[in-house]
């Protein structure tokens, strides 16, 4: 899921601030919404507990059974089905590509006791590439990162993850760039279709498409590459497409008048001018690919996700921490490198780089690289990293820290969990999930129209219909409840911390790297401490979702508040407003588009964690997905649950977008 370029959208149904647009003959929208809710509660009080469409643990609807039947048919026919033969061949090809790279770089290539190129050679080449594309600072960063992989004893896992990431990202670019051109130059209809497909890709819980991917491509590197690819593809299509579309029309008109062909316009004008945005897309695609590391390990994908998952099986927080942190190191390395590379290429394109000198520099730097390559092919010390044994010490430290932390704060956290559960989760869940389905569906539809207008009507009807069709209505309402409560918590954090970051450079300096790490560290790493603090509960799932979603929301709010023009703030100050008034009356209202975008993204991120929630006792749709993945006879139910999560995400997103559009598209101001 990308935070970068989703169009701005409005918050979920909350009463509008002062001066909300008047609609429906002078009655404000929030009053209508309040009316719907009051009516809902009244009818609920009379009918609750009936027609809730709750499905017991192992019950199936016919639709779910036939989804499972589809899987069985595919399995039964896998030996003579041409489509599956093709996908298997593709899978085998991915496996052999990854395997070739592994034998070159990360695993012993028998009869050699080590890979063809040892750690010293790989590190030297990587640093040289960093030097060539982005300068010497990046070269140093790359070298240090690679050394850290070896120094903590995860050399081959780290290189494996890089290999899978690069194969997946490479194919993503091959498939994604033509589609990005289509999005960038196509008409509205093309855009609407691609957007919906990409939404599905990004909202579909990764666990759900692991099931069909294993079915069609097999396990191991093939499955890992394909699932990483599916998850990493949307950002490059979206962002690069956006960049191509936004090339200034006057430039295009000017060059068109010179009589260029469509191809010339694309290759000579649009692509070069959109280069910077395209690199941002590439960057996001790489980040998305890395975030699949642990999930891919569920199908025996090679990489750093594997030790993380291994440690999880043994409840070993410290053991999961080190490889998890190395994933963060890798993410930071790749993120900074691509960003720096785009800036560097920009400078180079403007002639800001002395080419002759640069060639000399690169040629000179190639000498030690060749030496390192030779050494790493000849001597064991340069081929195989000697594990200095730091990892167990770090792991022990992390373990004892978490033991102390849980022992000290558990009483408090349990109390907090019980309070939020009793005051917020239970009542709202009771209203959503214990209402008869027709009441909840009707109320959601009415709220969608009130908040989002007629534009929101069609998607909401389709999504509600879909939820009913796939037969997990009750579970969907429970999941929706957790998602809404999680989003409220995310927004609380986002407003408090975001404003603090925007107003103080020091706070920003400390918080921003923490947020970067929070976004990249695999959720599995912090799952066990959160479990120890809150137990196997819905609340644990919500906390995991909040940890995952809050960084994005906080950054968006901070950037939004910081962007409020200083002259406006000055004007406020001159009238003698206090700091509190300045925040509440000036900065937050002016940053409303960012708040709205943060809420929308926060909600989708929390929803994306629904399946992880299923692993820690949250039940509902997340559990159904995990169940479908774990037990073959429940496959159909798991698939239905995955589709239901997508439907929930699209419904909420479309309502929010329509609401933003209706309130005069605040972002445009």
């Amino acid at each position: 899921m990308t935070a970068t370029l989703t169009p701005p959208a409005s918050a979920p149904p909350t009463p509008g601030p002062r001066g909300a647009r008047r609609a429906f003959d002078g009655i404000p929208r929030w009053a209508w919404a309040l009316g719907v809710v009051v009516l809902w509660v009244l009818v609920w009080a009379l009918t609750k507990g009936t027609h809730t469409l709750a499905l017991a643990g192992r019950e199936h609807t016919d639709v779910q059974t036939s989804l499972g039947g589809f899987r069985d048919d595919v399995l039964a026919g896998r030996d003579d089905n041409p489509v599956i033969q093709l996908t298997y061949d593709l899978g085998a090809w991915f496996t052999s590509v990854v395997d070739w790279f592994q034998r070159m770089l990360s695993i012993p290539d028998f009869p050699r006791p080590v890979p063809q190129v040892g750690w010293l050679g790989v590190t030297a080449v990587a640093a040289w590439v960093g030097l060539a594309i982005a300068g010497w600072r990046i070269a140093v960063l790359v070298a240090l990162s690679f050394v850290s992989f070896g120094a903590f004893g995860y050399w081959s896992d780290a290189v494996d993850l890089l290999i899978v990431t690069f194969v997946a990202v490479g194919v993503s670019v091959l498939i994604g760039m033509p589609l990005a051109v289509l999005v960038g130059t196509g008409n509205r209809a093309v855009n609407a279709v691609t957007n919906t497909v990409l939404d599905v890709f990004q909202t579909m819980p990764t666990f759900v498409y692991l099931l069909p991917i294993v079915l069609f491509f097999g396990i191991g590197a093939a499955g890992a590459v394909v699932c990483t690819l599916v998850y990493a593809l949307p950002p490059i299509i979206r962002i690069a497409g956006h960049g191509i579309r936004n090339v200034s029309t006057t430039t295009i008109e000017a060059t068109d008048s010179a009589g260029q062909t469509w191809w010339q316009r694309l290759t000579k004008v649009q692509l070069p001018m959109a280069r910077k945005t395209i690199v941002v897309g590439l960057n996001q695609t790489i980040m998305a690919a890395l975030s699949m590391a642990t999930i891919a390990s569920y199908v025996d994908g090679p990489g750093l996700g594997r030790p993380v998952l291994d440690a999880l099986v043994k409840n070993d927080v410290g053991g999961a921490f080190v490889p998890g942190a190395l994933i963060v190191v890798m993410a930071v390395m790749l993120d900074r490198s691509t960003t720096a590379a785009s800036e560097y290429s920009e400078t180079a394109a403007r002639g800001g780089v002395d080419l002759r000198r640069r060639r000399l520099l690169l040629a000179g730097a190639a000498v030690p690289v060749v030496v390192a390559l030779y050494l790493s092919r000849t001597y064991p010390w340069a081929a195989q990293f000697q594990d200095p044994g730091w990892t167990p010490k770090v792991a022990d430290g992390v373990d004892s820290f978490f033991t102390w932390f849980t022992d000290t704060f558990r009483g408090f956290t349990q109390g907090f969990k019980d309070l939020v559960s009793a005051a917020l989760l239970d009542p709202l869940q009771s209203l959503l999930a214990e209402s008869p389905w027709w009441l909840a569906a009707g109320a959601l539809l009415a709220l969608a129209v009130v908040v989002g207008g007629v534009r929101a009507l069609v998607p909401t009807v389709v999504c509600i219909g879909g939820l009913l069709y796939f037969g997990l209505w009750h579970d969907a309402m429970v999941t929706l409840n957790m998602t809404l409560v999680g989003t409220v918590l995310v927004m609380l954090l986002a407003v408090v911390l975001g404003v603090a970051m925007a107003r103080s450079r020091a706070v920003d300096l400390v918080l921003r790297p923490t947020l970067d790490a929070g976004q990249t560290i695999p959720p599995f790493v912090y799952l066990i401490p959160v479990l120890a603090l809150f137990g196997s509960t819905r609340f644990t799932a919500i906390v995991a979702g909040v940890v995952y979603a809050a960084p994005v929301a906080i950054k968006l709010v901070a950037d939004g508040v910081r962007a409020v023009s200083p002259s406006t703030i000055e004007a406020g100050r001159s009238t003698g407003s206090t700091r509190w008034q300045e925040i509440v009356k000036v900065q937050l209202p002016m940053a409303r588009p960012s708040l709205v975008l943060a809420a929308n993204q926060g909600l989708l991120y929390v929803l994306a964690m629904a399946v992880i929630g299923g692993l820690v006792g949250a039940g509902a749709l997340g559990y159904d997905v995990v169940l479908g993945f774990a037990r073959s006879e429940e496959w159909g139910k798991g698939a239905a649950a995955g589709i239901s999560i997508v439907l929930l995400g699209i419904m909420v997103d479309r309502i929010a977008r329509s609401a933003a559009h209706r309130s005069g598209a605040p972002a445009a101001r």
Binding site: A56, R112, T378, P380, I528, T537, R538
Partner: protein, 328 residues
């Protein structure tokens, strides 16, 4: 800036060349090891690849690595460990991705799809591995000690209120397990009229954390668990007796009102791999050991933080007589 880096590069090349010269005096090159490997490969038997699925619990990891280490060290096989859930492992039999699942807890639905009589015949049963699975309802030791009568299901309702949590809606909470596991707890609870609600932990990690915390903080907790499992070395959970298992009492999942049967764990292998009949087949066919054996290796891995290979090697070294019996 550029000037400095230019000079730095020169310095690095000099330093690297010096390092190379120093290293050249060290001796013991990769080429020598490669030649040694080549000659060793020539003399060893031709076992080929052996793909062992490693299911996500430590007991299975222990069995898989013991078999894998014997196969690679004593038969010269190239062993690949594939970390997979059971359902995915079974799909791998037909594609050649998986040859052996060493610890299967009984999957009638998968047998229907992949065994010869009912399904595509890509998988087959290679007999028991000697371990016996004990599934049941467990409570933390402190609870069994302070309220011994809690170990009989008939007394559970008396304590239901104390088992209540924020998730159980006023009833007692029963902690259900990882969805992979065979479980009938919802049916048992309703058929025995117990005032409990099943809350699914969703993963083994979540269940283990819950039991560890309950023991540490003396909290009420009852839930699904199983032996053999390394957690018992850390927290010796006590089993609650349910009405005893009889043949057929689990025939209808909705009417179950009895305890879980003891499960004879078995080895499932790929039919095509078995047909090839390499040396690995004999090893897997002969492999059996006891729950204590497995717990020992699992403890090395989970409690003593040994790598699975090291844990397996240690056990193999201490039990060469058992290993020899598998290699006949």
């Amino acid at each position: 800036m550029r000037h400095i880096s230019w000079r730095a590069t020169g310095l690095t090349s000099v330093a690297a060349s010096v390092a190379m010269l120093l290293a050249a005096c060290g001796g013991g090159t990769i080429d020598e090891q490669t030649k040694a490997n080549e000659s060793k490969a020539g003399s060893a038997g031709d076992c080929g690849d052996l793909n062992i699925a490693v299911n996500p619990w430590v007991g299975d990891e222990a069995s898989s690595y013991v078999v894998g280490r014997v196969a690679s060290q004593q038969l010269g096989c190239k062993v690949n460990y594939k970390e997979l859930k059971e359902d995915v492992s079974w799909q791998g039999f037909g594609t050649g991705d998986v040859d052996v699942v060493i610890e299967d807890w009984g999957h009638p639905d998968l047998e229907k799809k992949f065994f010869a009589e009912q399904g595509d015949g890509s998988a087959m049963d290679l007999g028991p591995n000697g371990n016996v699975g004990i599934i049941g309802w467990y409570v933390p030791p402190w609870l069994a000690k302070e309220h011994p009568d809690i170990l009989d299901w008939k007394n559970l309702n008396k304590y239901a209120k104390q088992f209540a949590t924020s998730e159980s809606g006023g009833k007692g909470q029963f902690l259900g397990a990882d969805p992979s596991y065979v479980q009938f707890d919802e049916a048992i609870i309703s058929n025995l009229n117990l005032d409990f609600k099943v809350v699914f932990s969703g993963s083994e990690a979540a269940s283990i954390t819950a039991f560890q915390q309950a023991e540490k903080n003396k909290e009420f907790l009852i839930g699904y668990f199983y032996e053999p499992q390394w957690l018992f070395a850390d927290v010796p959970l006590e089993k609650v007796t349910l009405p005893p298992y009889e043949d057929g009492c689990q025939a209808d999942p909705a009417k179950v009102a009895c305890d879980y049967p003891e499960t004879e764990l078995k080895k499932i292998v790929s039919t095509s791999w078995q047909k090839e009949g390499g040396p690995g087949v004999g090893l897997v066919t002969n492999f059996t050991w006891t729950n204590d054996d497995q717990n020992q290796v699992a403890k090395y891995i989970a409690e003593d933080d040994m790598k699975p290979e090291e844990a397996a090697d240690k056990w193999i070294a201490d039990n060469q007589d058992k290993v020899d019996a598998w290699l006949q």
